[in-house]
Symmetry: C2
Subunit: 110 residues, 2 copies
Amino acid sequence: MALPIPGTPVRGSKSGKPIMALLDLLGRTWALGIIWQLRQGTLSFSELQACCENISPTLLTTRLKELQQTKLIEKNLQGYQLTSIGLGLFEVISPLGQWAKQWQLSFEQP
Amino acid sequence: MALPIPGTPVRGSKSGKPIMALLDLLGRTWALGIIWQLRQGTLSFSELQACCENISPTLLTTRLKELQQTKLIEKNLQGYQLTSIGLGLFEVISPLGQWAKQWQLSFEQP
DNA sequence: AAATTTAACTACATATTATGTAGTAAGCTA
DNA sequence: TAGCTTACTACATAATATGTAGTTAAATTT
């Protein structure tokens, strides 16, 4: 699938509205999970693979490339880390952790 | 794929950490897009289909069921709307709209 | 009331993505 | 140099998504 670069046509928006590009990118399997796992620093390819419940190396390679090309992560000598842009994204989505705990309660106390 | 209910094993976490269930759910094609489109009220099946760049009816049906079962959306006479839980989720992710605009700038001014 | 239209789906064949195993390449380690 | 380890790539199989063509039921028109 074509990379969802904001400003270009993506799934969900021929106009390339940046939010649509973002939702396309984050909606791809494991993309959010990878960003979440990198929140505390660098992880190597195999560490990421382990963190992400043994995501297949094929898909991990694909997602890492996409996230690099969209400037959310970058590679360093030790592995992969969030860029400053990616860190900014994580800060936006980090409240999801707390929200998810509340969500869980609605299944336990129906 | 099994529904990602927090507290049960999901892709990414055998322990069923609620954040992992959430990332699994939101990482499915169009799930985030559907939530985003419902932010301003009720949309019918066909309105959603149109909003989501002609998502296939098969997949829209599947996602609507998943999002209902995970309590994020509900059906009413006019169509589908966010539940109060789903609205809470939208409020958490709504800053993505503004963030995406900043993200776009990094592609225009490299 | 019968026929037509419309909205909301479902079925299914095709196409695209993801998985999982195996293998390759490059850089240490002994 | 021979054997590890890490980081991938290749590829066959399996799971998902798409797109077209129905089907069903309710509303509207005639």
